[in-house]
């Protein structure tokens, strides 16, 4: 080896070191950016023994990344369901109230209890108009609470629907971005360019995508990546596939929402060939199509049970069908039998015939005849006695007597109205607890997975600093080497001149 080749090696090492310093400073800059991965300069020796930068690589861990994608999807799924349930809960103030004092709860169970207690007090003073008004206003609160719970439940469904629409739009835009970045990576790798920043970016997009919909990935030649839903439908392969969904703006109890399609394949709903399992979208569809409708069914059954418990019969003809009494719905003629009437809780009203503000007579609550005002066959207090309490006591008994409910609503079919209303709250709270504890678990798991991934691929500042020190020393040594070679040449030239 000659002195000039030694100079050339030292020169080369200076350029390698400055590249490496560049990598270190880039790492330091990204140390606190989430999703930033540690970059490494790959060195190799050239034929003459001098070092050469072969390329920049990044620290990656495919297994941990897959875990992160899965955790993202599971966490987003249960958290969106939990949010929806919490909204229903809050509208009735269940969780924040206490059963020891039901006056703060707006749930049908608590208001039904208030109505029963008001009837009890009315039955002890049947001539007292104030007691009657109290019972009537409790009945109105109960009807209003069922109306409101229906409205909230349907709002939760409508909101889930619009969130599905916006999530689908976001997926399409993420897939388009993914396509561009993926294209850069594939062509960059083929051309030998540094693609590490794009790889980080692509992982970031993938992570965002996994929050919306459960995904699996396959990496192919030149870091080309294909994305599939967790059910196997293709989201991206060389080009992005279209995710489509037609939103429905208004929801009632009978509204059936549209389903979502990936690349023309149905991926949500009962008939889906490739049904997605996780991600925010899976949660939203579950909330919109299963959980909220089931609660709505229970509300409708409570409303139907109420109409039944307060129904009046024709006392001259016991075989005649029952007529809706205190609780009814617009244009009702008969009491619905024990099958679900979708949306009944939303249209339940207190019969105007018992409401003095609507031209009714409040004492019909005591005497009967709410269903057919003026028809003596439906009046229970035939003598018109002011102390008649038998009908009121009968109503109280009806509330706590077992009646038939439609098993389609998912609760016991033969219980009292009171039990049915409390069971429904128990069902809701059970779902709430299930999804909130699963959200808590998934969130903890997600942060652990993210930490593990960050530890495996992220930057440690101290490591970079000590690396910097090494490079500084190496740079000094190389510079010193150049100076020595220079001075050796100098003394050589001096001796030639002399």
């Amino acid at each position: 080896m000659t002195l000039s080749s030694a100079g050339a090696v030292a020169n080369q090492s200076l350029s390698v070191i400055s590249t490496e310093i560049g990598v270190v400073s880039c790492n330091i800059a990204g140390a606190n950016a989430p999703g930033f991965s540690k970059k490494l300069a790959l060195l190799s020796a050239m034929e003459d023994g001098s070092p050469e930068i072969e390329g920049i690589r990044r620290a990656a861990n495919l297994a941990l990344l897959q875990n992160l994608l899965r955790s993202n999807a599971a966490q987003a799924q249960s958290s969106v369901i939990s949010d929806g349930l919490t909204r229903i809960d809050q509208s009735m103030n269940i969780s924040a109230a206490t059963a020891t004092d039901l006056s703060n709860s707006r749930s049908p169970a608590a208001l039904l209890s208030a109505l029963s207690d008001a009837l009890q007090k009315f039955s002890a003073s049947p001539s007292n108009i104030v007691a009657a008004q109290e019972a009537l206003s409790d009945a109105q609160s109960l009807a209003a609470s069922l109306n409101e719970a229906t409205a909230t439940t349907q709002q939760v469904r409508a909101r889930a629907d619009s969130e599905i629409a916006s999530s689908v739009a976001e997926i399409n835009s993420l897939l388009a971005q993914f396509g561009e970045v993926n294209k850069r990576i594939v062509s960059g790798v083929a051309g030998g360019a540094d693609v590490t920043a794009d790889l980080d970016k692509r992982d970031g997009i993938l992570s965002d995508l996994s929050k919306l919909i459960g995904v699996t990935t396959i990496t192919r030649a030149n870091f080309d990546m294909a994305i599939y839903t967790d059910s196997g439908a293709t989201l991206f392969e060389t080009t992005p596939r279209l995710v489509s969904f037609t939103p429905t703006s208004a929801y009632s109890a009978t509204t059936v929402g549209n389903q979502m399609y990936v690349d023309g394949t149905q991926v949500t709903g009962a008939g889906a060939a490739m049904k997605i399992q996780s991600g925010k979208l899976a949660g939203l569809v579950e909330l919109r199509d299963n959980i909220a409708p089931e609660f709505q069914n229970q509300l409708d059954e409570i409303a139907r049970g109420l109409i039944g418990a307060f129904a009046e019969y024709d006392q001259t003809n016991p075989a005649a069908p029952l007529s809706p009494g205190l609780f009814t719905f617009p244009s009702a003629t008969v009491v619905p039998n024990a099958t679900l009437v979708p949306g009944l809780a939303g249209i339940l009203i207190v019969n105007p015939n018992a409401d003095p503000n609507q031209g009714g007579d409040i004492m019909r609550l005591r005497d009967g005849g709410i269903s057919h005002p003026g028809n003596p066959a439906y009046v229970y207090n035939t003598a018109g006695e002011s102390g008649y309490s038998a009908r009121l006591l009968q109503l109280i008994a009806n509330i706590s007597a077992p009646q038939s409910f439609d098993p389609a609503a998912g609760l016991s079919a033969q219980v009292s109205l009171t039990s049915y209303a409390t069971d429904s709250l128990g069902w809701l709270s059970g779902q709430e607890k299930r999804f909130s504890s699963s959200t808590a678990y998934q969130t903890a798991l997600l942060s652990q997975t993210a930490q593990a991934l960050s530890n495996a691929t992220g930057v440690n500042l101290d490591e970079q600093m000590s690396r910097m020190l090494d490079l500084e020393n190496a740079y000094q040594a190389s510079a010193k080497l150049l100076a020595v070679i220079d001075s050796m040449y100098q003394s050589l030239f001096d001796s030639i001149h002399a």
Binding site: T100, S123, T418, L428
Partner: protein
């Protein structure tokens, strides 16, 4: 291979643990101040159904206890009225016994008139907005004033019957001619029929025979009133009317004797009947009181079970708050010190 930790996860971890501790502290502190769980659904899950059914029952018991107290106060008023009726009856009876000769007829007549008025006002007792002797006809005084002006239907009927029997009004000069047997026939015939059930409800009483029904526990409904239409009360009214309004002072001695003796007999019968009424009311009272005691025991048990579900142990909650505060302080110190730990400081 060395396991390394990234700077991002190190700082992020510290931040996250502080946030988590703070939210736990907030929850524990709220639990401590409320004395119960802060989030029913999170704490109980499906057991919210049990919690609410206990709560509903508890509220029911409370409502029933309230109404039972109302019922009790009415029964007490009934009992007091009956007692005063019996006392007055006894007083008049002694007066009758000690006035076997007609000398004190006018005094006796006055006494009986007062007794009748007191009797009527006792039967018109009202408690918490209801006339207690009215049966389920609770919003009107059951007995109208006998001595009202214009004359009450009851008095008109008596006057008519007297005139029809003897051809002269009470207290007229002609009344002294009435013989014992005439008087006996009148008293057991036309006069007695004035106090038959049909005439009683027509002339005297607007009370209903149907008793008030009250629900006194989750499963018991009992009758909780006695009616002014009870035969014993009718009989007493007859006795009072006899003495006060048959013109006692104008009768001859033997007719006077007949009236006084019959009245005494009537009062004896009436007192026996009213005693039976009193014991009926007593049975009602004890049924309500017993039910109330059971409700109180049940209520306590329910309260206990609700507490088991909802309450937090204050000592435990306080300890938890203290522990969390220590933990948060430690976390603050650690954050400060760990952020000092960087190689850059030593270069």
């Amino acid at each position: 291979m060395l396991t390394s930790i990234s700077t991002y996860s190190l700082t992020n971890d510290l931040r996250r643990s502080i946030l988590e501790l703070q939210s736990q502290l907030n929850k524990s502190q709220r639990e401590l101040s409320l004395g119960r769980v802060t989030n029913l659904s999170e704490a109980l899950g499906v057991n919210v159904a049990l919690d609410y059914s206990l709560g509903v029952q508890h509220a029911d018991l409370k409502a029933i206890t309230e109404t039972s107290n109302l019922v009790l106060s009415r029964l007490e008023a009934t009992q007091v009225a009956l007692t005063s009726i019996v006392e007055n009856a006894r007083t008049l009876r002694s007066a009758l016994i000690s006035s076997q000769n007609s000398g004190s007829a006018a005094v006796l007549q006055n006494e009986a008139a007062t007794a009748l008025t007191t009797f009527i006002s006792a039967l018109n007792t009202a408690a918490s907005g209801q006339f207690v002797f009215g049966g389920i006809h609770v919003d009107a005084a059951p007995i109208s004033d006998y001595f009202a002006s214009p004359a009450s239907p009851a008095k008109q009927a008596v006057d008519l019957a007297f005139f029809a029997a003897f051809g002269a009004p009470q207290s007229s000069a002609g009344a002294s001619a009435i013989t014992t047997s005439q008087m006996q026939a009148f008293l057991s015939g036309p006069f007695a029929s004035l106090f038959s059930s049909a005439n009683w409800t027509a002339n005297w009483s607007s009370a209903s025979n149907q008793a008030v029904q009250s629900r006194i526990s989750l499963s018991e409904t009992i009758l909780t009133s006695v009616s002014a239409n009870d035969p014993a009360l009718q009989k007493l009214a007859a006795a009072y009317t006899m003495v006060s309004d048959l013109g006692l002072s104008s009768l001859n001695a033997s007719a006077y004797q007949t009236v006084v003796q019959t009245a005494t007999q009537y009062i004896d019968d009436a007192i026996a009947g009213i005693n039976r009424l009193q014991s009926t009311v007593g049975v009602m009272q004890s049924a309500v009181t017993n039910a109330n005691q059971r409700l109180a025991v049940q209520g306590d048990a329910l309260q206990g079970r609700l507490g088991d579900l909802e309450d937090v142990d204050p000592a435990e909650a306080a300890t938890k708050v203290n522990a969390l505060m220590t933990q948060i302080e430690t976390a603050y110190r650690l954050t400060a010190r760990i952020s000092e730990l960087t190689l850059a400081k030593y270069l």
